[in-house]
Amino acid sequence: MPDLSVTLSGIKLDNPVIPASGTFGYGAEFKDFYDINILGSFSFKGTTKEPRFGNPTPRVAECVSGMINSVGLQNPGIDAVINEELPRIATYFKKPVIANIGGFSVDEFVYCAERLSVSEQVGIIEVNISCPNLHKGGVNFGSDPKAAAEVTAAVRKATNKPIYLKLSPNVESITEIAKACEDAGADGISLINTLLGMRIDIKTRKPVIANKMGGFSGRAIFPVALRMVYEVSKAVKIPIIGMGGVASAENVIEMMMAGASAVQVGAENLRNPYACKEIIEALPRVMAELKIDRLRDIVGVA
């Protein structure tokens, strides 16, 4: 019997496959396709203090082997998530969820983390520091080690849940940011968020996305994500949730060999709502082919 289980900060997951934030809503749409309790966990849509409509449409653009989105953190706000979404999730998902939070100030991150800490459903808080920080003159929390450390330290104080800092790949040295987060008390690192990308509609001669640019993700970005997971895993001791372009059981295994303790699947869920189910079902066969008995044994072997 192949053993697919992995452990993240003391939380045992049946398998390492986790839908990524923003590509799985709160799970409701996917439970109509399959029983989502087969998942290791899922990371829900990035939640902010206030409800947000997000950016103007068009918000999505197709690319070769990937897509761009500029959803802009549309979400119903922390109150609705706690009062409506989490209770609803409880009706169809029996495992701890990963609570992804976004924010435009340190205070907002702290507020959201504090509020979510009380929920027993929340296993890990994933702190997405890849959004523009309006309070710091346009510097992103996720691209400045000091700002990243500041958020980490503040959220650290606000909650007893494990906190995973989610990093942006649009930086020169992702290991510096990761180390700053580790030093400031992060329990783990999630990476990567989307690459900044753009498409132009050559018929209208205008950017496809209303906001001009957006986040590029999907299969195309896998080599960049894998490289960053590998680099960060050599630089920090805390666990890594690897993501970026994962679309198959083989990709999951490659990510884990690069150093990820668990793996998220993002855009692939959108083109194939059964993606995570198919990956989980394929894992035992691929493990057998590769003579892997326990998936957790391969973390960082490369």
Binding site: A28, E29, T57, R59, V64, S65, M67, N69, P273, Y274
Partner: protein, 244 residues
């Protein structure tokens, strides 16, 4: 809402740049006219959303225009299978249409109205149909609507067929009163109809989509009653909830 493998039965051109694709497979996921399917195409990352034109237990009819690479690739597939997500979106609410509904289609907004028209007539309603196109070579399904027994007017912008002008010009030709209207087509057409008509309306919208089933928030729009996902809470919205 489910993922189904369909077999291509036919895929032929029926007007300028417009094709009709007839598929066989499990249509059980489809529950209302105005719903759509999302088609996986080899070599393309995102699926392509196309409205259900008509369906029965075993077959599904889609009508689409070749506007870009994806629809061009689709038009070349003459045999084989297609992976579809079916039964997406809400569709038109037949019970809200009344006895004498007006159905208005613009260009490739026409197809979902055919399935709607058929089902309205089955229920005993007497729909009137206006179809708008740019010119005669683009016109399709005029006969099909007439065969259903619906009064059908066509308007062309250049006057090469039917009434010269827009669907609102054809509307002026009609004298009877309607209980409601259902429309699908370019947004300026929908807006013009909303301005012109003072009755309950159901409008079908388009937006660029990633998932098509409500998961990504790629297709949100603001309505008077909060934000809605065109793919899940739509594509059909009530005319009076739209913020124009």
């Amino acid at each position: 809402m489910n993922k189904v493998l369909f077999q291509i039965l036919t895929n032929n051109q029926i007007a300028k740049d417009v094709y009709r694709l007839i598929l066989s497979g499990d249509t059980g996921g489809i529950s209302a006219p105005g719903q759509f399917v999302n088609i996986e195409l080899e070599g393309f990352y995102l699926r392509r959303p196309i409205s259900v034109c008509d369906w029965d237990d075993k077959t599904l009819t889609l009508i689409y225009k070749t506007v870009g690479e994806g629809t061009k690739a689709l038009s070349k597939l003459k045999t084989g299978s297609l992976n579809l997500l079916t039964g997406l979106g809400n569709g038109f609410d037949l019970s809200a249409c009344g006895k004498r509904p007006l159905l208005v289609g613009g260009g490739v907004g026409t197809p979902p109205l055919y399935g709607l028209c058929k089902r309205l007539i089955e229920r005993g309603a007497e729909p009137t149909v206006i179809l708008g196109f740019n010119s005669a070579d683009e016109v399709f399904y005029e006969e099909e609507f007439k065969c259903l027994g619906a009064e059908t007017l066509v308007a062309t912008v250049d006057g090469s067929h039917g009434v010269k002008g827009l669907v609102t010009d054809a509307l002026k030709v009609l004298t009877q009163d309607f209980d409601s209207y259902c429309a699908c087509g370019p947004e300026p057409m929908l807006r013009a109809l909303y301005k012109a008509l003072d009755i309950k309306g159901q409008l079908s919208f388009e937006e660029r989509m990633a998932c098509g089933f409500g998961a990504c928030m790629g297709c949100s729009c603001k309505t008077k009653y909060g934000s809605k996902r065109i793919c899940k809470d739509g594509p059909v919205l009530k005319a009076d909830e739209i913020i124009w």
